[in-house]
Structures are given as C-alpha cells and as structure tokens.
Symmetry: D3
C-alpha cells in the first residue's frame, strides 16, 4: 500500500527526518511518500502558521487522490486541516496528535505531552480535549525551543526533552510521554530508555494507524460531516481550490 | 472609530448585505468598512471552505493594521481564523458566532441555532462547545439550503427559517433563536416578531461588541497564546505571509 | 438611554465609586443611575450576604420599570439575583461577572480572577462554571482583604491586587486579569499598565454590554425560564413582593 | 434528636402535609418541628420566589440554633438558601433535592424528575448538575400544574404525576422517579406501586439523611466556604440579619 | 434490621475492625453481620485485586438473600462489584466510597481523599468521577503504606494520615477529609479533632445510609440496568454462579 | 507475532467465530490464538456476567506470558478486566470497545453503537464516556436479542442489526455504526454495503491495533497505575491468583 505522509511545513530537512521515521515504522510492503506542501510556513508555532499550512496540506491530499495513495498521515502535532482533509478524499486520513493520544491511552492511564514554545499550549490543550482526552492528559509541557531549533541543534533538543520528560514523570506522574512535534521522532527511543515509560512519537503512530485502517478496508464516512465539499467558485491565489473538485454536486 | 467587517467569503453581494446590517447597527460615529478577501471560496459550507477562507481573512486583518482600523469583526458563523487573527493584530477581533452566543446567554436561558446545510452541524456543535455553551444550546437546526441559496431566494430563505425557528421554539423549547449564517441579518426582525423570542443576528451583535471593546480601550492580550506570530519564511502562493510581518522577533 | 446600576450592597461610598466608574465608561448620551438597595448587607462576602442582598436588588429592578430605565447592571461579582431580575422585567439585565468573563474571552485565551476573601472561592468557581468558562479561568485568587477593606485602605488594596495579579501572570500564566469585586474599578488602569495584560473591571464591562443590548433593541426572552413571576401572596417583611406585581397571570 | 423541617413557602396547609410526611418517616425518638418562614411567598415557582424565600429560611435556621435543633431539612425541591444555611449554623443542613438525587443514585442507574410548571426546568437542570448528577438524570418532566394546584386538587395531581411518571418510565427509560416538589409526598407510595420503580419523595429522604448525619455526630465544615458569615451592618427590612449574628468576628 | 457488611478482602483481622466500626455506628436494633468472602485477595490495592474480590463479594450478597439480610454494605473504598451486587438482590446495596462522597458533599463544599498506595490514584479518580464528584474532590492523596500496613502498624498509619490530612487542609484547602480505605475507621475521631474539619470514614457512613434506605422501605430498581442477571451456564471454578440464580428468566 | 484473542465468555462456538474474524483481519505472519477462559459465564449481558468473566480473562493473560504471546485482545464489547490485564503483563492489551471507538473517530465525526439487550445500555454509556467519547457517540441502540441469540439465529440477528443500523443512520444521523458485541463480526460487511457508512466490528479493529502496537515495540507503562499487582495471599476458589505471581515485590 502507499501512504502519503504530509509534513505541513515546508522545511524539507524536517520532511526527510519524518520520512525516515515513517519508513522505519512502515511494513516492508508499504510505500511511504513524504512531502511538504508547495506553499506555507517553514514551521508551525502559532494559529497563524497552523491555518496557513492548511491550503498546502489540502493540495497534497487532493494530489494524492491521483497518485494512487491509500491513506494519508498529517505529520504535525496540531493535526492541521484534518477535518477538511477527510472531506476531500474518502481514503483514510489520520493526524499524528490524534494517533498519539489514542495509542498512549492503550498503554498508560495518564500521560503528558512535551512540545515546543509556550504559546502553543492553549492550542494543544483544546486539541486533546477535542479527542476526549482531557482527563488522561496531565500536562502539556512546553520548552523555550521552536520547531526548527530542534532540527538545528538536536543535542540541545534531546537535553530539553530529557529534562521536561523527567519532570513530567516526577512531577506530573506521567505514565507515558508524548512528543508533541513531528520533528522529535529521532529522540523517542533513547528517551524511552532513560525515562522508563513509553515515549510516543506521533509520526510512527500515525503511519501504523494508517496501515491498520487500509488493512481493514475502511474509508472515511461520506454521509454528512465529511461529504465532499460543495462545488463552488474560488478566487485569487486559492483559485485552484474551486477547480476540478471532487464534490458532492 | 473604524470597524472592519470581514465577510470571509468572496460573494460581494453578500458582503453588501452584511455591510448594510453592520451600518444599521453601528453608531453614527462608527465607520464601517465591509470587505471580502481577495482569495477564497464563494461561500463557506464545510471545513474545506472554512480553512481555505482563512488566508484571505488574515490578509484583510493585516491590511487593517495599515488602514487605521480599530477593531475587526469576522462575519461568518464559523468564526474562521479568529484565533490567528488575534495573533496578527493587537486590535480587538470578534467572531459573530462568539458574539451571538454571549449575547444570547444574557437574554435567554436556553437557545437554538438555525443554520444552512446539515453537514456543518458537527462543526457548529464543536464551535459552541469551545465557547462553553454546550448546556445552553439546545439544538443546531440545519436546512436543506446553502449559504448562497439564502441570497438567491430570500423568500424561500425566510420561509425555511420561520419553519425551523418555530420548531426550535415548540420542540426544543428554545427561548431565543440564533441565525447561524452571516447572510441572514435581513430576516431577524420579522422572525423575532413572528416567533415571539429574541432572534439574534451575529453581524449586528459582533459590530456592537467590537464598538464596546474599542470604547473600553481594550486590546488583545499579547502575553502568550495571542503573541504576534514568530517571524519565518513562507513559500509558494502564500509567500507574502512571511513578509513584512509584525512579529515577536 | 437610562441605565440603572445597582450596587447590591448598602455602602453608599462604594456605590459612588461604582457610579464614577460607570459614568466614565458610558457614552455621553447614556444616563447612569447608580443606587444601593433600601435593605440588605453593607458588603457581600458569603452566600448569606449574597442571598440577603437579592430582595433589595429585585426591588430596585421593579422600581426601575417605573423610572423608565432601559437596562440594568447588577454590580457585584457574584451576579446576585440575576436570573430573578430577568423575570421581573423585560429590559436587559446584565451581571458584572458574566460581562467580565465574556469580555475577557474575546481578548485572552486563558485568565484568572483576583478577588476578596478566600471563603468566596467556591462561590465564584461555581459561578464561572455556570457561564461555561471553567476551561478558560485558570484560577480564582483570593486575598485576606474584605470588600470594604478595599474602600477603607485603597493603597493596601492596590498593593494586594498587584501582588496577586503578578502571581496570576507568572504562576497561572493568566493572559488577562479579572477584578472580582465591584469596588476595584479605580485600580484597573494602573494594574493593566504594570502587568502588561488586559485587566478587566466588571462595572465598565457591564455598562457597555447594557448599552449594546439596548442599542440592538433586544429584550429578555419571556417564553419560559424568564417569564414574569406567577402572581401570589407574600407575607411578612417581604409582603410587598406579592403586590402590584407585573406577572404572568 | 430534634429535626427542624423548613417549608420555604408560607402555605401552612402544605407545611402540615410536609410535617405529616416527615413524621411518618422519622424514628420514634426523633422530634420533628415543621415550620414555614414568617416572610416570603405562598409557593415557589420561579427564581423570584426562590430567592425571596431565602431570608425567611435563614431566619428559621438561626432561630433553630436557640431552639436546640440538631439538624435542618430545607423542604423545597430547589434547595433554596442551602449554602447560606450551612454558613449560619454548624448543625447539618440538608436539602430535599440533594437528598433525593443521592438516594436515587443508590437505587437506580438512571432516573427522571417529575415536577410543577415548565418554567422551573432550567432551574432544576442547573441544580442537579451542581450535584454532579447530569448523567444520571434523564429528564426533568414538568406539568401544567403549579405547587398549590397539587394542594388544591390532589386527584388531578396524582393523575398528572401518574401520566408523566409513566412517560418517564416508558420514554426516558427512567429506573426511578423523583417527585420534584415538597408537596407530593402523599402520592409516592401509590405511584411506586403503579409504576414499578422506586418513587422518591425528597422530604422523607431529607429527614432520614438528617437523622443519619446527627447519628454520626457530624457537623458542617467551618473551615472556609461555610464559615459563619462576616459580621456587618444590615439595613432596612432585613436589618435584623446584621444583629446578634453568630459570626466569624 | 439486619445489615451485612462485606469486607471484600479476606483478612479477618481487618473484618473485625470493620465490624467494630459498623456496630459502633449502627442503631441498637440493627444487627450487623460482618464477613469476608470465602475467596479472593488478602487486600485490595490494584485493579487485579479489585476484580478478583468481586466473585467473593457477589457470593456473600447471594447468601445474604437466604440469611434474611435487609441491606448490604460493600466495605472497600473502590466499591468493588457494586453494580453487580445490585443486580443479584433487590435489597439495597451501598458502597463506602459512594456513601462517603455523598455524605461529605452535605457537610463541605470541597474535600480530599487520603488513601493507600499511589498506584490506586487513577482508580479512585475514575470512581469519584463516576459519582459526579469531580469538582468537589480536590485531590486523591496517596501514601507509601499498603492496606495491611495500616493493620500491622497503626501508629505509623495514623501518623501518615495526620501528615497527608494536614497537607490536604493546608495545600488543597480541603474542607473535609475522606479516609479512602475501610481499615481506617479507628483513626477518624482523633484526626477530626486534630485537623478541625470533618473526617469521614466510609464504613460508618455506609452503615447509616443502609439503615436509612431500609427505614424508607426502598429497594433497588429492577426495571433495566439492575434487573436480575440472565439465567445461563457458568463453568469451571465459578460454576456455582450459574446455579440457583435468582434471575429474570 | 502471536496475538491471543480472549473471548471472555465460555461459548466455544462464539470463540470460533471470533477466531475466524481475527484471522481474516490478521497479517499472514501473525499467529492468532483464540480462547475462552476455563471459568465464567456462557455470555456477558450484565455487570454480574462481566465481573465474573474477569478471573478467567486474567488467567488467560497470565498463561499468555508463558505461551510467548506478544499482545492480547479482549474480545467482548465491555472490555472486561482490561485495566487488570494491563497490570499482569507488560505486553500490550487492547479491548475491542476501546479499539472500535478510536478507529471510528478516525473515520466519522459522530457514530452510534448497536448492541444486545437494553439492560447493558448504562454499562456501555459509562464505558464510552471513560474513553472520552461522550460527544461522538450519539446513541447506544439495544435490541431484544441476547448475545447467544445472535449465534443461534444469525438471520434474525442480521435483520435486527439492519433495522437498528438504519434507524441509527436516519434518526441519530450516525456517520458510522459500531457493532457492540464480539459475535457480530460476520454481519459487518453486508451491513456496511447496505447502510452506506462504515460498520465497525471490534474484533478485527482490536487485532489490527494489537499488531500495530507490537510493530511499534511498545509495552504497557509499568510506572504507576499498571504496575504488576502487589504480591499477596489469595484464598478459596481463586487461591491460584496469589501464586506464582509476576509482581512488584
């Protein structure tokens, strides 16, 4: 099967890392295609970045339909555009935050998230609440490092995660740690060994969940919420989004 | 004061209607500027449309900074891009859904929303929950009519709203009716008379709340969640969003 | 328009302060009438005081009907008698706690309240929950000072608010501060400057929301919950409450 | 022991009925004193009536302190003034709504309330939510009959309860029925036989819970929320409430 | 009346202590029968122990039917098997955790639980949530001592409870303390004196609630959730559970 | 890998069906071992049956440790003993209800469950709530058929599911249907075709999730809630549960 992993930001070095993580988790007969959108931000660290990454994500989903993709993974821990992505295709689409919390809840009774800048705490709190996980998530721990700081200085990154992960275990009593950014996959194994609790990277979780749903032959429900978008005109820089739509009408 | 009312869709006839409603509610010394974005969908009836309307909305917010705008109203009942808009400016930004539910809760103990197509019910449920109104909102009633159907055939529109409004009062015991689309302002008064309960149009509510916040001299908190976006590169059709940013760095 | 601001306690010096705050926020064509009830407690710092302030509040609402009042503001951060007030008049009635949390949620993603004695914490927690704001309110911070202590010793008062406000910002990560007592209006501006986040006084918020609702021509829904009280006999010291009622029968 | 049962309304015929129910449930060595306040409404059917009944209720609690009362029952299904009552005495105070829902939840997984006029539905919904029973209470069923209609025409009353009780069992799948008014005790037994599920009258539940708490030697916590009210001046018709207070200072 | 108090663990010394507490609280005309099951764990400190205690508890409930028991108390602070117990008998069954939280909520606005090992915190959190008490319970405080450590070394036990109880009052602002284990009854009185807030032992609370429900002549609803189990075959070590069932068929 | 699928009831014909479904979903290199416990009920249709199935389930988990099992699936839609199972092994254990709701929430915005007898509705409601799915699950639809009726008369079974599934789609607007019993796998495909929405059988979902977690090399967190049970004596018919324990001490 073919799974398209979309890194919603446009930093290709990070996409490479995500691709690596995805391939290491995928089955040998699963083809991983990892991409960044053709438009959007270099990293996602605010509502602004998140919303502006979505057009590019949707475009990649739409292209995926023609590319014979069987399932999609949105590889950013805000799950940007997830619900819209489910509208434009009937192939399964999973987010890495979503996959992380569901996976974690099958391994641990309570857990914490460790992520990037403090400003995204509210965004992630509301996200995990939307997945019904408010009681299970003990804390969203942020760091002073941005998304690309983890790319640029992985040593500082792992040190920061180690520190916050330890505090999550000791102060929150977190029974698992969720890495709240798609660029942290490489740190998961060593952290897990050090911390002694499951450390969950969303990219690998998302890829495996995508494989699972394809194996089960399931597709997104097209009954109501996730029907194909209504056909209509789009103008300006986003004009193409109104064209060649697979739509309900 | 100058209030910019942004109709997130690109249907100018609808923007005209919104402008008319906004002006009729604004104080004589309030200048209303009603616009549609330069890019995006002709109407918003799905997550797809909603997310794709946001870049255009943000662009209008940013332009507003240079235009000397004192406050912004996002005039679509999904409040698209509201949190991002609060990041790019320190001027108050209010959504019409948000304004509607807060206003309604000061007039009625329980209420229902009447809106467009069934597919957006989930979206609106999650939205009113995010405002803490899950207990007060009895029902989100949808109609078979799309956003622009109400523009094209106002007579059918009012008839549909009358019918669902009546059922909201009789079956839900709704003590107020919220019109769940920016293009329904013109119907509010006659519906209110017929139904005997407050009928709330979000555009006028949003404009008045915006005036109030400006009068109070309040600005959006820039401490954490709504800080200016981090400065970074944007590529492709959205390249401009990385340029000339008012940012934290 | 004429807005009656009811300070539910009987301390006229405090009513003067509230009147001053209300007038400073009101439009020039808005007439502010600030009163204390003819019966009740000198301050409200318990359920006991709160409930016993309500008969006096209701009396003032009823009188307001004859005085040509267009809207009412209940100026105590427990919103005492708010729902009953909405029964005895069809003019809009807003509470200052209610107004504060709705206003704050349009300016900040998360916030804390700073108020008087520790014993009222439970009362205020339950109140903000009833407005659906449990997720947004990070903390109700109390001080060892009572309501009238803030009147008697404003210097100690501002110092106390400064201290708790600072802890709210630093420890709670509050993005706005709500002053949880009607007698704190005078401190709002200097606190806002010092703390660097919106500081919200409920009296001015309430007055502006009242103006807004009158401007919109909206009245309280009389369909069900807020119908006029059933006509019936009242005895004893409250005998008058059964007389000359505007009632449903 | 001596239990004072306070019917918060001033209709003595109803107080008699409540006294009868209380005595029939009390142990032989429990002395029941049933009273109505000296001031307030003839019945409670709105927020207005509810709040205006509270001063009279509090007065009776305070008198009870001198009368050697061991525990108090507030015998109206809105539990008016319950939290204030717990402030003015350290003797246990229980409400009949509170007692009913806790008792019911030890007998049935899900249940419905049958009560008087439609207008009080919101009030009772918010009340049962405040006791954490939102998931257990399936429905608050109202009837077109007021409180005193049940006194005046018990035959119509029982018929109405039978009808709504039956619908609660058949349509809501209620596994117990709670009689949502203090004047319905006399109907409980025959309804229980007919409906085949527990039918709970709050007055007898409240009296037995009060006995239990006295037996256990427990008193209301005076640490924080329920401390004695702060000593202060009261004016006007409620002047006495500031006098001879048992207070914290 | 005859109340059977079931200590779900098989440590008879602890059952003796529970019997003592139960008898000290029961009325003189109440016969207390305290037992341990014939099978199961020596103490309950995990989901494992809890579930494995349930067959023994159910067996004791069933025997109670023949022994002329009027009501049952399940004396472990996890309320093991409570819902199943309500299926196999129509006599009232109360759990001591359930009784504790309902009793506490009639005495205090907010409270904390002090219990045994850290590992059961999740279990107790989910339990109090299931009783709707998430807002009232401020904290579940655990200790490094197991259930039988409190039996073996009561002096260390009381010291531990004193310490955590004090922190509950000072740090959580708990207005009552709930002893989260059936073997702590003996410590309740002295702790209450020291801490100055109600200290609630579940065994005595459960016994008194059981007496109350018997006095009221109420039985468990057999309409739906708590119907007698369906008759069916059981095999292996639990074979007897399929025999001589009082069942619906 | 080796996955042990435990049908918690002792009806081997049903275990065969579950094995068939599991094998059809498993990868070719996954070995499925499907068993029924050596003790317990022939079917699970009450709290009684559910709790009494748990000792047998736990025994099978423990045996699995010696059998070289890599992961466990508990194949009953009440997920009996799930938390205890996670204590006795560090291999992943998933429940089929849990798997179903997480899978469904990646395919559909809102869904309903169709299951056996009405009496288990409360049990399943509380279960899906414990997974945070209260907002997504629109309805738990029951049928007059018991678990084994579906085995005995599959034609009546499919007809019943078809009927309730249709009502779920039409009346609840369910966008997916969850089959709320392990014995319904065989009906899933034809129902999905007829109803036009995803129809989810928990057994196949559980098996695939188990494979995924094994692939990811993840194990249950042993930090706190799911630590191995404390070592202790067990007596009577369950005596073996105290022996040869893998425990924390």
């Amino acid at each position: 099967m073919k799974i398209k992993v979309i890194n919603p930001n446009t930093t290709l070095a990070m996409t490479k890392g995500i691709e690596h993580a995805a391939k290491s988790a995928a089955r040998s007969d699963t083809q991983i295609v990892a991409v960044s959108p053709k438009m959007g931000p270099a990293s996602i660290e605010s509502y602004y970045d998140e919303y502006l990454s979505i057009p590019g994500v949707i475009e990649e989903i739409k292209k995926g339909e023609e590319e014979g993709v069987d399932a999609f993974v949105i590889a950013c821990w805000g799950d940007p555009g997830l619900h819209a992505a489910r509208e434009v295709t009937d192939k399964p689409v999973v987010g890495i935050a979503e996959s992380s919390v569901y996976l974690a809840s099958m391994l641990a009774a309570r857990f914490s998230v460790v992520t990037v800048l403090p400003r995204i705490k509210t965004m992630l709190e509301d996200l995990v609440d939307s997945y019904g996980m408010q009681k299970r998530v003990l804390n969203i721990r942020t760091t002073p490092m941005g998304v690309l700081d983890f790319e640029r200085d992985p040593e500082a990154g792992i040190e920061m995660l180690r520190q916050e992960g330890k505090r999550a275990v000791e102060e929150d009593n977190a029974e698992a740690i969720l890495l709240g950014c798609a660029g942290m996959a490489e740190f998961a194994d060593s952290l897990e060994k050090e911390l002694g609790v499951p450390v969950i990277d969303g990219v690998v979780a998302g890829v495996k969940f995508a494989e699972t749903i394809v194996d089960l032959g399931k597709k997104t429900s097209k009954l109501k919420t996730y029907k194909y978008p209504e056909k209509k005109e789009y103008v300006g820089a986003l004009e193409n989004f109104g064209r060649n739509q697979t739509t309900t009408k």
